[in-house]
Symmetry: C2
Subunit: 506 residues, 2 copies
Amino acid sequence: MSKKPKTAINPTRAEDYPEWYQQVVRAADLAENSPVRGCMVIKPWGYSLWENVQRGLDKMFKETGHQNAYFPIFIPKSYLEREAEHVEGFAKECAVVTHHRLEADPEGGLRPAGPLEEPLIVRPTSETIIGEMFAKWIQSYRDLPLLINQWANVVRWEMRTRIFLRTTEFLWQEGHTAHSTEAEALEETRQMLDIYAKFVEEHMAIPVIKGEKSESERFPGAVTTVTIEAMMQDRKALQAGTSHFLGQNFSKASNIKFLDADGVEQFAWTTSWGVSTRLLGALVMTHSDDDGLVMPPRIASAHVVIIPVIHGDTRDQVLAYCDELAASLREQRYHDRNVEVVVDRRDGRGGQKFWGWVKKGVPIRIEIGMREIEEGKLSYTRRDKAHRDRFDTSKETLPADITGILDDIQRTIYQRARKYRDENIVRIDSKEAFYDYFKQKGKDESGFQGGFVLAHWNGDPAVEEKIKNDLKVTIRCIPFDEPEEEGKCIITGEPSRKRVLFGKAY
Amino acid sequence: MSKKPKTAINPTRAEDYPEWYQQVVRAADLAENSPVRGCMVIKPWGYSLWENVQRGLDKMFKETGHQNAYFPIFIPKSYLEREAEHVEGFAKECAVVTHHRLEADPEGGLRPAGPLEEPLIVRPTSETIIGEMFAKWIQSYRDLPLLINQWANVVRWEMRTRIFLRTTEFLWQEGHTAHSTEAEALEETRQMLDIYAKFVEEHMAIPVIKGEKSESERFPGAVTTVTIEAMMQDRKALQAGTSHFLGQNFSKASNIKFLDADGVEQFAWTTSWGVSTRLLGALVMTHSDDDGLVMPPRIASAHVVIIPVIHGDTRDQVLAYCDELAASLREQRYHDRNVEVVVDRRDGRGGQKFWGWVKKGVPIRIEIGMREIEEGKLSYTRRDKAHRDRFDTSKETLPADITGILDDIQRTIYQRARKYRDENIVRIDSKEAFYDYFKQKGKDESGFQGGFVLAHWNGDPAVEEKIKNDLKVTIRCIPFDEPEEEGKCIITGEPSRKRVLFGKAY
C-alpha cells in the first residue's frame, strides 16, 4: 500500500466528498452555519466572491437594458395563492409572519403579540408581489418591455440544508420582465440564460450545458424553464441558473394587461430568471482540490498574496520591498477591476501563512525575503499548479506580466474542468447499461459513481419518476446542442428524436 | 392678490409640505407604497440613487479597513432578550415568524402550519446575531479589531409610515466592530460619523451638524450615540446617520471575550453604525423645489438628458447628432464614474418630455433639433437654476466643460441648502422666547414653524420630556462644534456649560 500524500484538507475528495466540501468552505473561511436553523453567515472572504459575481452580472444585465429595483420582502398570503402551481410549489416550505410585536409572557420572557389579520410570507421568490406592481405600471404597449431585476434575500424552509447549496435564507438576483408578444418573452428567457452561461463559463470558469427542463423539473407556474447545468468533481450535476418563460400564467393571476397598438386589451407575456449564492458552492466543488479552494482569477477575492519572509532586523526593508511590488501590481487593470494584492503582514510562521493562502485559493503567491531582494529575483507559485513549481520573475517584470498570468490560470482551470466533465459524459442506449452505470462505482481511484448520461427518453413523466425512484437520477435538461437523431427510449423502447441529459443532482 | 406662478408639483412646499413631498417622490418616479402594509417599492430611478449611495459609502468603508459580510435575517427570540434596553427598544415593533409552512385550511385557502419551537424575529438591527458570531470568531487580541459591515434589509413594524422616511422594511448598511480598548472603539465610533458626514455633505450636498444624542434619544443598548442632523426645507430636523459606542454592553450580553497581550481575559468594546434609504427622503426634502426633484450630480441617477426635437423627416439626422454628443459626454469621468447620459428617444410631445425630466431632477437638460445642428450651437438648462436660463455651448465644447458644470451645480445646491439652514438656526436664552419661536409661524411666506434652536439645558431628561410634550420639540444633538460657555437652562435657570440643538424631528 502506497503512503497517502499529505494534503491540507482532510478528508480528501476521494475519501469523503461531502465532508471535504465542508472542510474547504471552512478552511477558506468562506462561510459558516449560523445558530439560526439552516441560515448561513457569509464571511468576508466568501462575501467578496459574491460581490464579484454581483458586479459582473449586474453589468451584463444593465448592458441588456435591465434596471434594478426593490420590492417588499413580505408577500400577503393571498397573493401566493393566486397561481395554483406556484402556491403548490412554495407553500410547503415558507417562513410565515403572524404577529407584529412581542409582549411580556407571564411565564417569563417574551411572547408573540399583535396578531396580523392576514399572515405574511417571507418571499421565497417574488413573481406574485412584482406581478401586482407590474399590473399597476403597465397600461399600454408603450410601457413594454418592462425589464426589472432585484438583488435580494429570499427564504425557503428547506428540511436538509448544506452551506451555499441549499440554505433556508440565501442571496440571489431575480429578474422579472413583461413583454407584448410571446416571441419577445421567449427571446428574453433565452437571452438571460445565455448571459448566465457566459458569466459562469468566462468569469467563474465553470463549463455548463444549456437546455430545457422536463415538465417535472420546471419552476412552479412556468410554461418552460431553461437551465445551465454544471458537473461537480464527484460527477453530480448542479443546476447553476434558471430562466423561466411564464407565458401568461402570472399575468392572468396578477391581471397584467396592456392596450396593444390597435387599442385591444391583452395579457402581457412574462419571464423570470435567477442565480443565487449557490453559485459559490458550484465554484468550490468545481475547482478546489485536496489542498483547499482554487479561485478563478476573474472573480477571486484577491489575485496575489505577498508573504514577507522576515529574519532578524530585516523587517522594514522587506516590507518596503513588498509594498513597492504590491503598489505596482495594483496599478494594473485586470478585466473590470484593478489587480488586488494582499501583503500578509501578520506575525506568525511562514509555512503556516503560506498554507493558509493555499487553502484560501489565491491564484498567485509570492514569498519575499532578503535573498530575493539581494539577488533581484523573485519566484511565484500558482494555485492551479503544484506548490513546488516555482516560476521566475522580478519586481520589475511581474507587473507587466500579471494580467497574462492571471488569464492563463483562468484558462487552465476552465479547461481542466471542461476536460473532466467531457470525460464523464457517456452515451448509453440500453436500460441495463444505464442502471449499471449509475449503480457501479467508477473505475478511477476516486470511486465516484456515474457522471452524465445522454440517453433517449420517450417524454413520459412516469418513466422519469421510475428512474428517479430506482437510481436517484433525474433529467437535468434536454440539451439545446444535442442533435436530432433516431433513437429508442432506454426504458420503454418507444421512439425518441433526441437524447436528454441524466445525472444525480445537488 | 398676485397670481400664483404655475408649478409642476402641486401643492407647493408652502401650501402643504408633507403632500408636496409625496408628490415629488411620485412625479420623479422614485418609489411608491406597496400593497404590503408600510413596505415600499423602490423604483429604478430611486434605486439607482441608492446604488450610488452604496457605491460611495462602500468605498469609504473599505478604505478604512472594513469588510462586508452577511448575517441571517432571522434572530431567535432569546437573542433579542439578552440586552435589556435593546429588547425594550425593539420588541414592540417587530415581525415575528411563528410557522414554517402553509397547509390547506378546511374553511378554504391556506393557513399557517408547522409551528416553530422558538419564534424568530425578522431583524430590526443585527447587534445580537452578529454578537453571537463575533463571540465565536474572537479569541485573542490578535483577532482585533474586527471591522465588519453588512448591506441588508431590516424590518421595524412602525405604526405610521412615510415613504423613505419611516417604512416597515427598509434597506441600510449596518457596521459592527469589536476592539480591544475603549479608546479605540470610541475612535471608531467617531470615525464612522465623520465618514457619514463627509459622504452626506460632499456626495449628497446636504449640510449636517455632528453631535452626541442625549440619553433619551440614544440607540437602545448604547453607551453613547453620535449623530448627523440635517435641516429639511420645512425646517424640521432629519437624523441622517448614527454611530453608536456600545461599550461592553453587547460583548457582555453575547460573551465576546478575548485574551489580551498579557493572557488576561477581557470583554471586547464594540460599536455599530448605520445609514438607510431614509437618506433618499432627506435628499428629496433638502433640494427639491416646486417643480420636482433636484438631484446632486455626484449621486444623480443620470447627469445629462438630451431631448431630440424632431419635425418632419429629420429624425435620423437629429438622433445621430444627439448620439454623438451623448457618446463624447459618456467618455468623460465625473468623480467615481463616467458621465451618465439619457437620450430620450420616446415618441411624445417635447414639452411634456422636458417637464418630465425637470420633475425627475436631472442636473442638465439639452434640447437638440435641426436649428441647433445647422447653427452648430447648443444651449443647456440647469436644474439648479430657472428653466428659462439657457447657457450657450456646442457639441465640441460641452464634453470638456461638463465636469466643471456638474461640480458647479453640486456646489451651488450645497451652498443654497447650507445658507437656508444657517439662516434658520437661532440662539435663544429664555423659555418664553423658546416657546414663542416654536409656536408662531415663521415670518417668511412659507409659514413654516420654527427651525433649529441652540439653547442651554441643564442635562435633565425630565426637562427634555416636558419640552417634547409641550412643543413636540426634541434635543437633536449636543453639537461637537458648539463652544463651551456660561449659560442657564432655559427652563430651570440652572447652570449649563454648552448649548444643545433643539428642533422638531422627522
